[in-house]
Symmetry: C2
Subunit: 101 residues, 2 copies
């Protein structure tokens, strides 16, 4: 197990807060997903750009899709085959950007 | 029919060039799709940003998804229920950006 793979204890501590915030567990793999809706494309892509800069800074990248004002994002850590602490941290940062914090 | 919906003559004129360039017709609807691969996330998102600026300028937006260096893009015109001249123009511009022209 790599050092940042989520243990059961990590999951019990971190996931309830994210699930309460609107994240869901992917059905087919160990990943977190969330859908966001913005005012329009400009707002959606502006948010994506902020997330992209974070992703590049931390070298941890999302899987995501966008149609006009909607974005669906999936977080997982390919190198550990599932969720890691990086995904938890990234999810919290993504929420913070979305809510302007 | 709205004024920019593609006629059969338009399709015969415009689509062969796009299909030869790497675009495909979607299986389930009247839309053009293409997959691009870049060096890395930075290159992929840089290209997406250029496409997003074009999209906003012309008020015609793609459906797209990104995973690291890969982008899948779908073009269709929701207001005409299928392909329009805007999609053909947009596809050509997208190709031009991808190849640095």
């Amino acid at each position: 197990m790599t050092k940042d793979q989520l243990t059961e204890a990590d999951r019990a501590e971190a996931l309830p807060e994210l699930l309460a915030a609107g994240w869901t567990m992917a059905e087919d793999r160990d990943a977190l997903q969330r859908r966001f809706a913005f005012k329009d494309f400009r707002a959606a892509f502006g948010w994506m750009t902020q997330v992209a800069l974070l992703a590049e800074k931390f070298n941890h990248h999302p899987e995501w899709s966008n149609t006009y004002n909607r974005v669906e994002i999936t977080l997982t850590s390919h190198d550990v085959g599932g969720l890691s602490q990086r995904d938890v941290t990234f999810a919290r940062k993504i929420d913070a950007i979305a809510t302007g914090k």
